[in-house]
């Protein structure tokens, strides 16, 4: 659509040129802004929590206090909520996911970075695959191969004849659709949020002109940008929480058969 010539941001704002390229054993690696941010966030999280727990005190202060609050939130709010006492073993796993995803999302509103790293589809897919490759083997290990699939595919309280029709649905919904929705939920939320902020930021500059309507339009767009940024802060934490909570629920389902 060519009309007013509004340069609406599209999928190209999620594509970055490689700043360095190298090959190891026939595989080509591209280092782009996204890769750099990924490593930077990893280092930041490792650095912060190493610093927070470098010399733990009985009465926590400062960074240790923040670190313990994060730990207790994951343990009591997510792991124990989904799995009970047994969830304590999975706290490090869930803790890493929550803070990694939260900070990667947060990069969307950090000046200079300004890209939620999780809006690059490969990254949520990789995270969802790690969760998937955790709960499926765990379920097979804990329940046994046949009982794991039997518990998954044959929900109780259904007439026997219906199983022929329903078991394939349960199989597909758990084994195929579940990892897909797990990754798409995070990706789509961050992608859409970033696109919205980008659109209104562009509109702020595009609409500005020396007329009443121009100033009004520009100011309104700017106000919406600010409001959306605030909203995005909430969504970033919420999506990290939902991803981690669902990972905990999937692991919980693998540990015990659902009744």
């Amino acid at each position: 659509m060519s009309g007013c010539g509004f340069p609406a941001p599209g999928a190209e704002i999620f594509q970055f040129d490689a700043v360095a390229t190298f090959a190891i054993g026939g595989l080509t690696f591209n280092i782009s802004k996204v890769t750099i941010l990924l490593f930077l966030v990893s280092l930041l999280i490792i650095g912060f929590f190493t610093y927070a727990f470098r010399a733990p005190k009985l009465v926590p202060r400062g960074a240790q206090n923040v670190g313990e609050m994060g730990y207790l939130f994951i343990r009591d709010g997510i792991a124990r909520e989904a799995m009970g006492k047994e969830g304590d073993r999975f706290v490090p796993f869930l803790f890493t996911f929550f803070f990694m995803i939260w900070m990667l999302n947060f990069m969307g509103i950090v000046p200079g970075a300004q890209i939620p790293v999780t809006s690059i589809f490969a990254i949520p897919v990789a995270f969802a695959l790690i969760v998937y490759l955790t709960w499926v083997p765990l379920g097979i290990y804990r329940q046994g191969f046949i009982p794991f699939f039997k518990n998954m595919m044959f929900p109780p309280g259904v007439p026997k004849a219906m199983y022929l029709l329903l078991a394939p649905i349960e199989f597909i919904s758990n084994i195929i659709v579940r990892p897909f929705t797990h990754s798409v939920r995070l990706f789509a939320n961050m992608f859409a949020g970033h696109l919205l902020i980008a659109s209104f930021s562009v509109a702020t500059f595009y609409l500005i002109s020396a007329s009443v309507i121009g100033i009004l339009g520009s100011v309104a767009s700017f106000a919406v940008t600010v409001a959306l940024t605030g909203f995005e802060v909430l969504i970033q934490a919420l999506q990290a929480y939902i991803f981690t909570l669902l990972a905990a629920v999937y692991i919980s389902g693998a540990l015990h058969a659902e009744h």
């Binding site: 929900p155 259904v158 329903l166 649905i169 597909i172 919904s173 579940r178 909570l245 629920v249």
Partner: protein, 73 residues
């Protein structure tokens, strides 16, 4: 629980995908155009709803029993 909300989505998606696909395969074989595919979609949706309702019913019943409430038949 958050999972029961998301499991509704994935069950409906799975049921639709599976039975629409089966309907399409059947129409390729028998040759009734899109009629069988549409039938498959409706059947899949119905089965998904059935699955969602039974599993939610079961969760609610077991939840009430856990709370010590007596269920009126």
């Amino acid at each position: 629980m958050a999972d029961s909300a998301w499991s509704i989505v994935s069950r409906i998606a799975a049921g639709l995908l599976l039975y629409t696909g089966l309907g399409w395969l059947l129409s390729q074989w028998v040759g009734h155009g899109p009629a069988l595919m549409a039938t498959g979609a409706i059947v899949g949706l119905a089965l998904s709803y059935y699955l969602v309702f039974t599993s939610l019913n079961r969760q609610e019943t077991s939840g009430r029993k856990a709370d010590g409430e007596v269920r009126v038949p």
